[in-house]
Symmetry: C2
């Protein structure tokens, strides 16, 4: 299979790099790092074993790239409006587009741009960042779950999972809607709270009032998900997320990193869309709403 | 009547100073400014006409002060635990204690300390600060409303109002519970939001998301008050508070000033007690709750 990677940042570089290392044909769209990677290849520093790709199929424009069987989208969702121009050169009618992105409602919106394209949600559980041009650093974790949103060709969908597995990446098939909401249970409280309170996960959990607030928000997300028909989430999952985060190294989620770098935050898909979907389902999330509105203010001031 | 002032900061200095200027006998408890005021008197800079009191009855301890007919308490509520030792030397059984303080539940707690003492709530609408030792500056407004909490001696209660009026202070009698909640409608959203978002009133109202959040919190406070039997508050009062604040000079509420000076914030009586009272009445205020929990975190970090 021929893979394309749109947005070769931390996630695109890591997963695309792994696939290329395992022998798959992978074509990378690069932006600021294009010249460097074309010349020097791609370095993946990894807790599971670092490696270097000497020769990388690097492109500065998707118009130069071949048609692909699978396209991995690693863009930040705030750049998804670019997909209407970036994606078409890579697409055949059956090209599977894997959105390795954060938040809820992403697939709905991309499907509106490309009504007949098979879409898959990629839910990455990874601590990974681009440390310098052509170099990504996977500090820990690394698994990715795939939720089938609209890919009727089950065979290709499972080939993607097999290829990732063969590349040494822990992955699994999950139910799309549940997986997106499951991830939101952690993302919603921690992303915004670390920005608004300018802190990290450990301090939020250490102070009783923010610990309680985080748990309350987790339960608002879980309650909304259950209203939407997700059955696999309940209080025990919130307990599990609290325990997991208690045991994590103090951590700055992606939104905090974006904020610190004065980049736009993914407020729309991590907050506004889930709030809208939950409210429409008759299940408002008021604590989350308060956080989202403060974040919107901070985002507007941080531009 | 003999007046005592406990806590001669901005409010105690201004109202006590005005009463003394009008010829009342006023005794001031001072802390850090004691020596200065004893020597130099008290300067009141005021938009309504500045004045200086050359000779001030200044004390560094309430044990040296005479018994009073009325005691004005201008302490920050975070220091109310000191009242058990500060107040008794000034009290006869019928001494009226006027709590010129912020928040909800203050009178309930002070009454527990002094079960039979007549208490009055003083609700100040004033922009006033202590600018240097022995000097307070009233920038604008200045009125004070009195709500009778437990003063059975109506005559003395009304004499206080008359004395304030005679001193040139705009004041009125108001229904205690409604007055406290009425003031909370403004205090709850703006005090905490200016701290958490490190901003001022005008910018909060300019951005659509925080404007909406502030209005939502105002309505949560109004709804809780109505649950508690307050009938005089509805949506039109929230509209009025929004309009009033739109027309105000950009303003930092007292909590923001406390925060900036690394002083403890009045989180208990402005947030936690109203939240508790509202929740017990079956009317939680979730947006306010989210703000309060963030504030508690910030307060703990700001100590």
């Amino acid at each position: 299979m021929v893979y394309g990677v749109i947005g070769t940042g931390a996630l695109g570089g890591f997963y695309g790099g792994r696939l290329a290392k395992s022998g798959q044909e992978v074509h990378f769209l690069l932006h600021s790092d294009y010249e460097y990677v074309k010349e020097n290849g791609l370095q993946v520093d990894s807790c599971d074993g670092s490696f270097h790709l000497d020769k990388v199929n690097a492109y500065s424009s998707t118009t130069d790239m071949p048609k692909c069987d699978v396209v991995l989208v690693g863009l930040k969702t705030i750049n998804n409006h670019l997909l209407t121009s970036l994606l078409p050169p890579l697409l055949r009618h059956n090209t599977v587009v894997v959105l390795i992105q954060n938040g809820i409602g992403v697939e709905d919106d991309v499907q509106k741009m490309f009504p007949d394209q098979p879409l898959v949600a990629g839910l990455a559980f990874i601590c990974c960042s681009k440390t310098e041009p052509g170099r990504v650093n996977q500090q820990c974790y690394g698994s990715i779950n795939f939720g089938n949103y609209s890919c009727k060709d089950e065979k290709t969908f499972h080939t993607v999972i097999d290829d990732f597995t063969h590349a040494g990446i822990q992955c699994a098939e999950v139910e799309y809607l549940e997986a997106r909401w499951r991830k939101a249970v952690w993302n919603v409280p921690f992303n915004g709270m670390t920005v608004v309170l300018n802190t990290q996960t450990d301090l939020l959990l250490k102070h009783p009032s923010t610990r309680e607030l985080i748990y309350t928000m987790m339960m608002e997300v879980i309650t909304a998900a259950r209203h939407l028909g997700v059955t696999g989430l309940d209080r025990s999952f919130a307990d599990k997320m609290m325990e997991m985060t208690d045991n994590m190294t103090p951590y700055s989620p992606s939104m905090r990193l974006d904020f610190d770098r004065h980049r736009p935050m993914e407020i729309n898909y991590i907050y506004l869309r889930p709030l809208q979907i939950a409210a429409e389902a008759g299940c408002p999330m008021p604590h989350v709403d308060a956080l989202a509105k403060m974040l919107s203010y901070i985002g507007a001031c941080n531009d």
